[in-house]
């Protein structure tokens, strides 16, 4: 069974600290996406990772992809309260239909 697992599921961190969210998947794919969801809202695309070794950065967030290890990471640098949200990774398992399998989500809470 295809699985996309994130850890941790819940992360409470202090402003200014660094942390990494991990996304492991169980099938072959070199297309992985990260999304952000604010409470009660829809999903917003953050990063598109399309090859082994891909690294993308936007502000305090940096995402990377290791297709051989079937692992993606989302690194948070010097967290601020505005980053509080739920973060999902998603793996593309059919390039013709762009069918995505989503991870379990990581709920991030940043406190002062």
């Amino acid at each position: 069974e295809l699985k996309v697992e994130q850890n941790p599921l819940f992360l409470s961190m202090q402003e200014g600290k660094n942390y990494t969210i991990y996304c492991n998947y169980s099938t072959t794919s070199d297309r992985l996406y990260w999304y952000r969801q604010d409470p009660g809202k829809s999903l917003e695309s953050l990063f598109v990772l399309l090859s082994n070794g891909a690294v993308k950065q936007e502000g305090r967030l940096m995402a990377s992809l290791d297709t051989k290890a079937r692992l993606s990471t989302l690194h948070i640098t010097a967290a601020v309260h505005d980053l509080s949200a739920t973060y999902f990774c998603a793996v593309d398992i059919n390039y013709n239909t762009d069918k995505l399998i989503f991870g379990t989500g990581t709920r991030l809470q940043v406190f002062p």
Binding site: R31, S42, V48, F88, N96, T97, D98, F102, G103, T104
Partner: protein
């Protein structure tokens, strides 16, 4: 630019009543379209996807059906709602074609409560 609409935004329905949720995309042609459901505090479950008019694939056996009567219109329906159908329903689109590496773009969602 492309825009995706969903309506209604919120819906409260009694058990056993029918359902129709609509999703439309503007600014693109022949998109791939998707319906997801998100239960409270949970991840996203892919319900249906479509690569063209009247081409619908169902992912999970359930009380729901989908139709795509027009290129940029995707409808989620049920004849009789169950309590377990409650959730946040999200429509998404992506550019069609195997070489496409674009992300999926999500609509604002419909929050459905079945009582």
């Amino acid at each position: 630019s492309q825009t995706i609409h969903q309506w209604p935004a919120t819906l409260v329905q009694p058990v056993g009543s029918p359902l129709s949720l609509e999703c439309t995309v503007e600014g693109t042609s022949n998109p791939n379209l998707y319906w997801y459901r998100q239960a409270a505090g949970r991840g996203l479950q892919l319900l249906f996807y479509s690569i063209g008019i009247d081409q619908i694939s169902s992912e999970v056996p359930q009380n729901l059906s989908a139709s795509r009567p027009q290129d940029r219109q995707f409808i989620l329906s049920s004849k009789k709602l169950l309590l377990s159908d409650s959730g946040f329903y999200l429509c998404a689109w992506s550019t069609s074609g195997g070489a496409n590496t674009d992300t999926q773009y999500f609509g604002p969602g419909t929050r459905l409560t079945v009582l």
